[in-house]
Each structure stands twice: as C-alpha cells, then as structure tokens.
C-alpha cells in the first residue's frame, strides 16, 4: 500500500501540470482564433507568440 504515497502525489502533480498549462494558454489568448492558428502552421513566417 505504500506505493500509494508515491502514486497519488504523482497523479495529482501531472493533472495539476496539465491544468496550469491550460490556464496559461488561456491567459495568453491562444484560443482566440482557432481557425487562424490551424492555417498559420502552413505559413513559412516565424511567429513565436500571438501579437496583441
């Protein structure tokens, strides 16, 4: 049963990591233009972050 003391924190950490990543993406306005982002990967222009 002692394995639980590793597994539970690990699962919580991984889930929390996903949540933080999601909140960060949301805050950086990465969901503002899903259709445009889908097309932008085809463009050769280097584009490291959405402009305001």
């Amino acid at each position: 049963m002692s394995i639980l003391s590793y597994l539970i924190p690990i699962s919580l950490f991984l889930g929390g990591f996903g949540l933080v990543a999601f909140l960060w993406a949301l805050k950086e306005r990465q969901y503002d233009d899903p259709k445009g982002d889908a097309e932008r990967i085809l463009s050769g222009k280097y584009d490291d972050r959405p402009k305001r």
Partner: protein, 742 residues
C-alpha cells in the same frame, strides 16, 4: 464605399481626440505627438479594425499581414481568421481608408469597422472565465474519479478514509470556485423571489459537498465529491456552449452595425464639412450627392433630382424632387446633387418616428418563454418537493436518523441533475445555429430558433425582399435594335437605376450604343442629346411628351416621332421562388404585403404562386395586419427589409431581414439573412422544427433516466457509483442526440 474614406478620416480624428481626453495633463493637450502616444503605452488611439469578409486561408493571412506591416506607420497587424478581421496597431496619423485601399490593390475586400461598437466581443472576458472554470472542474473531476474508483472497487477502512480526505481537499475548493456562476445566479433569482434552475443546482452542490464532508469525518461509506464536481463540469460545458452561441451571433450583429457610420455633409458658410447625423439641427443646410441616403427630414432648397423611396414606402417608382419638395430621412437621392434645409433631425425625424413604432410593437410583445424555461418552472419545485418528502419520510421511518435522511435527500438532488436542461438545450441550439450560419442565416436572438419552429404563417414584403429592388427592362427582345442602341447611348450619361437597366439590356443583346452629341443629364427629368440633327430625350413622361403609364417606365423621343415607352419590372431575388415553394410544401400559409401599387404586386404574386396579397399598405397597416394574424392565434414569420417593415418585423412572432436591409430593420428582426439568396428561409423553418424535436427528445431521455434512478434513490439504494453512472450516461446520450441534427 463612397462614404468609407470620409468616415475613416473622421474616426481617426476622433481617436486622437479620445486620447486627448484620456490624458488630463494640459501639456499633452497642447502637443500630442506620436512618441508620447507610444511612451504612455496607450495604443488605443491608433487601433484600427478592418473586416475581411473574403479571407479564408493561410495565404490570405500572410498576404494581409505582410501588406499591412509594410505600410509606413503600421507597427503590427494581426489577422483573426475566426472573426475574419485584421487588427492593426499603427501610428495615430495612419488613416484606415488608405489601408483599405492598399488591401484592395492586392485583391482583398476590406471594410473599416468602428472599434467602439466591437468592444464587447474583443475582450471576451466571460468566455475565458467560463473556460477556466471548465478546466479546473475537469482536472478535479478526473483526479477525484481516480480515487472514487478505488473506493468503489473495495477500498476499506483507513484507506477509504484517506481517499475521501484527499477527494475533499480537491473537491471543496473546486466546488467553491467553479460553482460561482450557479451560486450568484441562484442568489440573484432568490432575491427577486424567483426559483430558477440554478437553485436546485446550487443546493445539490452545497448539500453533496457538506454531507460528504460529514460522512468523511465520521468514517462513512459513501461520499459524493465526484458527483458534485462532475455535476458542475457538465453544467459548465452547457453554460459555455450557450454563451458561445450568443457571443458569435452578437459579434456578427455588431459587425453589421459597425459597418454603417452615419454621417452627413453639412454646408456652413458655403464650406462643406462632415458631421455625425446626430449633430444635425433644424435649419442646417446639408448636401446630398447622387447615390447618397437622405440623413434627415428636410426641404429641398437647391437642385432637382429623383429619389428612391422604396425603403420607406415600398414604391419602386422613383419620385421627382425639386426646390420646395419635402424629403424624409432614409430616401435615396438618384440623379442630381441636392441641397436640403433640415426641418427635423434626430428624435423628431420620420426615421425616429418609425423607431418609435418599433418600440411600441416590442413593448406589446409578451416575453417569450423557452422550452427550457418552461421545463425549469416545472422541474425546480418538483425536485425540491421530492427531496424534501424523502427527507421527511425517512426521518419518520427511521425514528429520527438525521444522517440517513439527509443522505437520501442529497442523493435525490444529485440524481435528478438537470443535465438535460443545462447541457442538452445549449448543445442543440449550438448545433442548429451553426448549421443555419453555414447556410447564411445569422440568429441574433437566443429564443428565435424556438419561435421559428412554431411558425405557421409567413408574411413577405415585396420590394427588396422577394425582389432585388433593382429594375429590369421588360420584353427587351421585342425592342428594335436601333431604338435600343440610341436609348443605351443616352443611358450612359446617368447612374439612374432605369438607365442602368437599359444599358444592361443592350449589353445582353450585344448592341453597341451609337455616338451622340451634346449628351447631358437633366437631374429629375432625364437625359437629352443630339444624333445628327435629331434631338433626343429619354426620361419622364411629361418631359418627353408621352402618355404617363402606371408601371415603372421611361420614355424615349426621337425627333418628332411618337415616343417609345420602355417598361420595367423588378428583378426577382434568387431563391425567392424556391423559398415560397418550400414553405407552401411544408404547409405554411404564405402572404405578401407591400406598399407598392396593385399591378406590380399582383404580377409578382402570380409569378410566385402567392394567393394572398395586399398592396398599397402603409407601415402602420402592415403592423396591424401582423397583429391581426397574431390575434387569430397564428404564429407569424415576417420577412422584410424596409423602414416601412420595421414595425411589422417587431410585431411578428419572429422576423428575418436581409443584410442589405436598413439598420433599423435589421435591429428589429431576430434573424439576419447574410447572402443574397432567399432559399435558406425555407430550410431554416425545417431545421428549427428539427431542433425543437431534438430538445424534446432530450427531455424525454433524461426523464427516462430519472424514472429509473429516482425510485432507487428514494428507497436508499443509490450509491455514489449509481449517481455517477446515471449522471454521466444521461449527459453523454443527450449530447450525442443533439448532434443528430441534419
């Protein structure tokens, strides 16, 4: 398009003014330079928004952005393909019309948008807030479910307690945070003495969390942390879908409104200046160019012309105007420049009086109760009664075991989760309005779809709705070639719609216009010219010396020969016949009502197969007809575009107007037809009916789950596992059912 450059110059000036007002410091007021703008970090003054209706791919994005960023003074440009807009951050002195022109050169249609009108959708705070809560709820749900499965599969004693405590540590903050939209809405309802759908939801969340904490503290077997979090997750998804549908509709509606920047050319001491229509005062002199819309009521002081009143009255025949003629706001000046003395502007103008008619019709309309609201009205008291009577019975049956009785009533509340109401209705509405949007119909009002499903009578306006409002030359094949080529040669000199129709007819038969001398347009009368020694006139009957006739017509005189009459009929809108046929096939009663003369209306009615029609109807009569039909218990769909239709649009059960309609008509209607084709109107009714059926099916499905699960909960057999199963399967089935929309 002619108004666009003027509008954008003025708006960038306004933007600069905004900045002045924003900075209170007097030094800045004296010298507002671009550097200061940049230094203060305030880019508001130089934000330009352009609409890009034709952008659709990666190439469009790079083309537009490269072109804009290469333009001197532009700091950055970003295309949003979802909204089909480009947002440009530029120096304050960059004019939007220059950017529009630059884009036009590389082949992109662009229109300036009024950023003030778009503010609500640009900062989509509510949508992001809901998404964030969904993310948190989803994270919590997955982790708690992991622990719950361990409990369900047989974790015992200390292990179970530990799992419950960890679940509690995750669930409690989550419920407090993600439940806020429900709590605040429930509290708002209760304060006004209303029990809305959020009351049982909030109660279920609070009760489930507190009973689980209590059970955990007392080493109980059952905890509902997973149920509480899952409930909030599914309901938040429903709430977000609902919000998205509204936001998309609102943003597109705002875009339509932001396209029209109302301005007028004011003459002051002989100098022309551009002012906002709202600033006009009675007594002001204004100039209206050919093709321009009259901005305020007024009397003509100078110039002769003809005006098109079709948007106001539905008449297709242009009306002669000269000095002394009274004009109403909304008419379109056709041939010559006019100078007007404003007699009434703003609140007193006829345009505004029309808006008052709309307001009256709207206040008379009772608020529509949606299916979901009706279901909620029935659902909330029932759930509370069930849960409370379960509590009462088990208190009596167990001789006062509060813990057991509260457990049962919490289980009842959780199992009767209103997922069908909270998730299935928004899912159906989202699917249906997305489908209609692809067909070119924009739903402006959330309840419009349901109202559309109930329609049994459809009333069409004629001019501009069933017809394009542009005349076409009748029997052009029977006119001899020489006459037509002379008429076309005269018509070249004018931009009058009838002249354009003659030219189009000549082009269609590949007839070249002859060359004429002394060609000139006499505004308000027609065009004259000379062919050799023959003097020619094309225009109004009395000016040419012809017999006036009832239909839309123009007359041509060649020297002393008897005048030739050209008759015109209005061009049918594409898809009008299909739409009418489709509606008749669905068993709807189709009517046509128009302000135009009887001959024109009856001819069109015959062509389309409409048996019931009314001609010469005044705006108030149109509204009265609709009110009369509604009084007979009919559910009326009004389709119209003119100012004379606005009152009728507002009075109808549900209304549609084409995007080419006047602003006032679009505002009064629930649905806007984006394309020129009228055929989607027939489809819209079918889709709306289908959506309504899906919503009802979803209610039936979730009622079915409850019929099985609630008795189990009432007798105390419902475990947290059963609750979780019932909740998730019912949510998933209703979502899948919503997607069956064809």
């Amino acid at each position: 398009m002619t108004a666009a450059p003027l509008a954008s110059v003025a708006s960038s000036a306004e933007a600069a003014e905004d900045h002045l007002q924003a900075s209170a410091c007097p030094a800045c007021l004296a010298a507002p330079s671009a550097e200061e703008l940049a230094k203060s970090g305030d880019i508001k003054g130089a934000r330009i928004m352009l609409s890009l209706p034709t952008a659709h791919c990666a190439v469009c994005i790079t083309d537009v952005e490269r072109e804009m960023e290469a333009y001197p003074g532009v700091r950055s440009a970003r295309v949003n393909l979802t909204l089909k807009r480009v947002s440009i951050d530029a120096e304050a002195n960059v004019a939007a019309d220059a950017l529009v022109e630059a884009l036009g050169k590389i082949g992109y249609e662009a229109y300036e948008l009024d950023p003030g009108m778009l503010s609500a959708t640009e900062t989509d705070k509510r949508g992001r807030d809901l998404l964030m809560r969904i993310g948190v709820a989803g994270f919590a749900m997955m982790n708690i479910m992991l622990l719950s499965i361990a409990v369900w599969s047989g974790a015992e004693a200390a292990t179970r307690d530990m799992f419950h405590w960890i679940s509690a540590a995750i669930a409690l903050p989550t419920v407090v945070f993600v439940g806020q939209p429900f709590f605040s809405s429930a509290w708002g309802g209760l304060k006004h003495g209303r029990v809305n759908m959020d009351v049982p939801i909030s109660l279920a969340l609070i009760l489930a969390s507190s009973i689980s904490i209590f059970e955990t503290m007392h080493h109980g077997h059952h905890a509902y942390f997973d149920a509480a979090v899952m409930l909030s997750f599914f309901l938040l998804v429903g709430r977000y879908l609902d919000y998205r549908t509204r936001a998309v509709a609102r943003s597109a509606a705002e875009e339509l409104a932001a396209l029209e920047v109302p301005r007028a050319n004011l003459l002051r001491d002989g100098v022309e200046m551009i002012v906002a229509v709202a600033d006009l005062k009675p007594g002001d002199l204004i100039r209206v160019r050919p093709g321009g819309r009259i901005p305020a009521d007024g009397e003509v002081t100078e110039g002769t012309s003809e005006t098109d009143r079709s948007l106001l009255t539905g008449e297709t025949l242009p009306v002669y105007v000269g000095p002394g003629t009274m004009l109403s706001a909304g008419e379109v000046n056709l041939t010559g420049p006019l100078t007007l003395r404003v007699t009434a502007a703003g609140k007193d103008s006829s345009l505004h009086r029309m808006a008052d008619l709309v307001a009256m019709a709207e206040s008379a309309k009772t608020r529509y109760t949606t299916l979901a609201e009706r279901a909620a009205r029935f659902y909330s008291p029932m759930v509370h009664a069930l849960s409370f009577s379960a509590f009462g019975y088990w208190m009596y049956a167990t001789g006062g075991d509060v813990r057991f009785a509260v457990n049962i009533s919490a289980a009842v509340l959780i199992i009767t989760c209103p997922c069908a109401l909270g998730l299935a209705v928004p899912a159906v509405i989202t699917a249906a309005s997305g489908k209609l949007f692809r067909k070119g119909l924009l739903i402006k009002d959330g309840t419009a779809l349901e109202r559309l499903a109930e329609v049994d009578t459809v009333v069409f306006d004629k001019t501009g709705t069933l017809t394009m409002g542009t005349p076409v030359l009748e029997e052009s094949d029977t006119i001899d070639e020489e006459t037509l080529s002379v008429a076309a040669a005269l018509a070249v000199a004018s931009s009058h719609p009838l002249a354009k129709a003659i030219l189009a007819a000549a082009e269609a038969r590949e007839i070249r216009p002859v060359t004429l001398d002394d060609l000139r347009e006499v505004p308000g009368f027609g065009i004259e010219g000379r062919l050799g020694r023959l003097s020619l006139r094309l225009g109004r009957a009395d000016w040419v010396g012809a017999e006036p006739c009832a239909a839309t017509a123009t007359h041509l005189r060649l020297g002393e020969a008897p005048p030739v009459t050209f008759r015109f009929s209005d061009h049918l809108r594409t898809g009008a016949a299909e739409a009418v046929a489709l509606l008749t096939a669905q068993g709807k009663r189709v009517l046509m009502v128009s302000g135009d003369v009887e001959t024109a209306v009856s001819a069109l009615a015959g062509k389309l197969g409409i048996t019931e029609w009314y001609s010469g109807a005044l705006p108030a009569e149109k509204a009265a007809l609709i009110a009369d039909l509604m009084g007979q218990g009919k559910r009326v769909l009004m389709v119209g575009d003119g100012l004379n239709d606005t009152a009728a649009l507002a009075a109808a059960h549900v209304s549609i107007s084409p995007a080419s309609a006047l602003d006032a008509a679009r505002t009064a209607s629930d649905i806007v037809l984006l394309g020129a084709d009228l055929a989607p109107v027939g489809d819209a009714l079918r889709i709306a009916g289908q959506a309504r059926r899906r919503i009802k099916e979803n209610f039936a499905i979730s009622a079915g789950y409850n019929v099985v699960a609630v008795p189990l909960a009432l007798v105390g057999l419902a475990t947290p596992l059963a609750a979780a199963l019932a909740m998730s399967t019912s949510s998933i089935t209703v979502s899948l059912n919503s997607m069956r929309l064809k």
